[in-house]
């Protein structure tokens, strides 16, 4: 192989804060220049990703079941959940808006769950399947993450703008809080994941298993 040596083979580790390549053969815990703690990989990446993913999943249920907002038009109040809003727009013929809401609020978190789970499982199994695509997937997950906040922002805007006393009044409902938490936790989960883990057990490394196993423990 013509691949240049990786940092771990040379006993080096890049400081995340100041970028100094530190010698870790003596297992120093701090960067000798700036004093930041040194990690060869993100600390506890897999466990944290899993934990945040599970938390997001746990909040995903109430986020979709509980109403996100209450629309009161001339006395007639109605709670609407995310899905009921989508259906309402769809039935009203506004399929484009329905599609946007559906993708931003339901599909994107769903995709994130699936993608992160896939990444985690493949990393834990030291799979060498489609490493490049998985890296792309991870970047995609990171990019789309905050778009799910669209819903939260819409509700926040509408709830603060539509205040016409008896005529029309929109109020947020607990569902939107859980939805916001889902988005936050999926983002945290994605942030906790270390994409370098995908590449850690490259076949030309003889002791690949031990290296990858060690990585999450740090």
């Amino acid at each position: 192989m013509t691949t240049p040596p990786v940092a771990s083979e040379l006993g080096l580790c890049l400081c995340h804060t100041c970028g100094l390549a530190c010698d870790v053969t003596d297992n120093p815990h701090e960067c000798e220049r700036c004093g930041a703690s040194l990690h060869r990989r993100k600390t506890n990446a897999l466990a944290r990703t899993w934990a945040y993913l599970f938390a997001a999943l746990a909040f995903y249920v109430p986020a979709n079941l509980l109403p996100v907002m209450n629309t009161k038009m001339v006395g007639a109040g109605a709670d609407s959940t995310i899905m009921s809003g989508v259906l309402e727009f769809w039935e009203a013929g506004a399929w484009d808006i329905a599609l946007i809401i559906f993708i931003a609020s339901i599909a994107v978190p769903g995709i994130k769950f699936v993608a992160l789970t896939l990444l985690l499982v493949t990393v834990q199994r030291d799979s060498d399947w489609a490493r490049k695509e998985r890296s792309k997937l991870y970047r995609f997950v990171e990019v789309i993450g905050y778009w799910s906040m669209l819903d939260v922002i819409v509700v926040a805007l509408v709830a603060s703008l539509v205040k016409f006393q008896a005529l029309a009044d929109i109020e947020p409902r607990p569902g939107i809080l859980f939805f916001g938490l889902v988005v936050v936790f999926t983002m945290l989960s994605a942030m906790s994941f270390d994409p370098r883990l995908i590449w850690d057990n490259t076949p030309n490394q003889p002791h690949n298993e031990e290296v990858t196993d060690e990585a999450p423990s740090h």
Partner: protein
């Protein structure tokens, strides 16, 4: 994997052990908390989950699943979760999820109805639902039992449970113009309303349920009378023209008024659910109490055209009851069609007379047999019923109970029920009968004989007259001629130029002259009495004659 890592050959005795003290990362607290929050939500929603009930409505008008709310006192206590046709497809079943605190709405007698805008004569309600859409109104019942299926009301109940006030029942012959929601007035102030009405068990009357709001329910006393205040009371009398009505609204939707008669001492507020009678108008309502009714039967052998049910029954001119039934009967013995008239009398209407009579006769008003015996003695004394003409123009009849001591004796049957009072023919009929009897008598007169005699008498009279004409009259004529003559002669004698009269005048003149000379003589003699002896001197002056004053 982790213990494997620690036992790794690379750095067996390194200080990184302190991080291994927790075999599980602290980050797992986050999903645990998330799950706990989720569980708490589930538990909360399960705890908050109220009972589910099914209310059956006639139509699903205005009911939308997951949108229509159930409200009590304008607070949401549940919502409709499903609307579907009932199994027999004749009505609509609305599944309602009640909230936890609305558990009491599952009481058996809870009521549910759809609140829609309603505009009626009694008022306008549910205007807010015009904009907000219909909702289901609910009212908590009182029963201890719980139910799952309810029958939705078509109209909102006028009174909610637990409203302070009292319910009363009125009994009436018919509903009149009353309806649910018709107001109840006390001194023209609306104090309650009609909340329900239903036919009697036997269908012979209507029971109206009233609700009188507190604190005015205290004015409903044991002696209170209720009357129908619907419509206008027109009165034309000696004092002019009077229109009486409770209120304009009662004109349109009817109404009930109540008042205790002024002569009600020791009046106590009536107990809940007490039954009163509903009178037709204020006058009858406030009239002295009728007391116990007594049914009597009368049997007339004459046609009773003009006698109507409700015609008055009068006793010595006092109205004490009314006719309740008029039926034609067939008498097998006489082969005739008598008329059976049923009347009801209220002896208490006689007032003082009644109380005194009871006292005098030691009569117990509750002893039915004694009452019948009393009636028996009255009949002995000539109590008879008679259908009399109340109005000669319209021919309306009324029943008069009166004493006819000369009436034929009748056997009184004290065991017959209802008690039967013997009758005598009516006044007009009586007149007819008398006329009939007279005509009969006239018929019996020997008219022909009388006529014959009269005829011969007349013949003789004519003969007499002829004689008179022929004989007597000529004589009379001659006599009259004689008389005329006599009168003529008399007249001529007395005429002015008659010789007799001439002579008479002359005689009277002579007499005048004579009396003058006599006076002269007497005068002369008075002055010259010697002349009687010496005679008259020749030289006697004529002046002497004038000497003495003339008298």
């Amino acid at each position: 994997m982790k213990p494997q890592a620690t036992d790794g050959p690379q750095a067996p005795g390194q200080a990184s052990i302190k991080t291994r003290r927790f075999s599980v990362s602290l980050v797992w607290i986050v999903p645990i908390v998330a799950v706990l929050v989720g569980i708490s939500l589930v538990v909360h929603s399960i705890l908050q989950e109220g009972p589910t009930i099914i209310v059956n409505f006639k139509t699903g008008d205005g009911l939308t699943a997951n949108k229509t709310e159930v409200k009590y006192r304008n607070v949401v206590v549940g919502h409709v979760s499903d609307v579907e046709l009932s199994n027999d497809q004749k009505s609509v079943d609305a599944t309602i999820k009640l909230s936890k605190q609305a558990e009491t709405f599952t009481r058996e007698d809870s009521q549910f109805w759809v609140v829609r805008p309603r505009i009626g004569a009694g008022g306008v309600s549910g205007i807010d639902t015009l904009l907000s859409g219909d909702y289901i109104g609910a009212d908590i019942g009182h029963a201890n039992g719980r139910a799952k299926n309810f029958k939705g009301l078509e109209n909102p109940p006028p009174i909610t449970y637990g409203e302070p006030g009292k319910r009363f029942t009125l009994h009436s012959q018919d509903l009149g113009s009353l309806d649910i929601g018709s107001p109840v007035y006390y001194r023209k102030i609306p104090v309650g309303q009609v909340v329900a009405y239903a036919l009697d068990a036997d269908g012979k009357g209507v029971n109206l349920e009233l609700f009188i709001h507190a604190p005015n329910d205290a004015y409903v006393t044991e002696n209170t009378r209720f009357w129908n205040a619907s419509g206008i009371d027109l009165n034309i009398g000696a004092n002019g023209f009077a229109v009486k009505t409770e209120s304009l609204s009662s004109l349109l939707v009817g109404g009930i008024a109540f008042l205790a008669p002024p002569y009600s001492p020791n009046d106590q507020p009536a107990t809940e659910e007490k039954t009163f009678e509903l009178f037709d108008d204020q006058v009858t309502a406030l009239a002295p109490p009728n007391g116990k009714a007594q049914y009597l039967s009368l049997r007339f052998d004459q046609a009773l055209r003009g006698l109507k049910v409700d015609a008055p029954v009068e006793f010595l001119g006092m109205e004490i009851g009314k006719v309740v039934a008029i039926n034609l009967d067939f008498d097998e013995k006489k082969r005739s069609f008598p008329v059976n008239v049923g009347i009801v009398i209220y002896p208490q209407r006689l007032g003082q007379a009644h109380t005194k009579m009871i006292k005098a006769m030691m009569h117990d008003p509750n002893d039915e047999a004694a009452g019948v015996r009393l009636m028996g003695t009255f009949i002995e004394n000539g109590l008879r019923a008679q259908a009399r003409n109340g109005n000669l123009l319209t021919g309306q009849l009324y029943i008069a109970l009166d004493f006819y001591p000369k009436a034929e004796k009748v056997v009184f049957d004290p065991n017959a029920r209802p008690v039967s009072i013997p009758t005598i023919p009516g006044s007009l009929e009586e007149l007819q009968e008398k006329l009939q009897a007279m005509v009969d008598k006239i018929n019996k007169l020997p008219v022909e004989r009388i006529a014959g005699n009269l005829d011969s008498n007349l013949v003789e009279l004519r003969k007499g007259l002829a004689q008179f004409n022929a004989k007597t009259l000529p004589g009379v004529q001659t006599t009259l001629a004689d008389v005329s003559k006599t009168l003529q002669s008399a007249s001529s004698t007395l005429a002015e130029d008659s010789p007799q009269r001439e002579q008479l005048t002359q005689t009277l003149d002579e007499l005048k002259r004579m009396s003058r000379s006599l006076r002269e003589l007497s005068d002369y003699l008075g002055r010259h009495p010697e002349s009687l002896i010496r005679g008259r001197p020749d030289n006697a002056a004529p002046a002497d004659l004038q000497g003495p004053p003339r008298n």
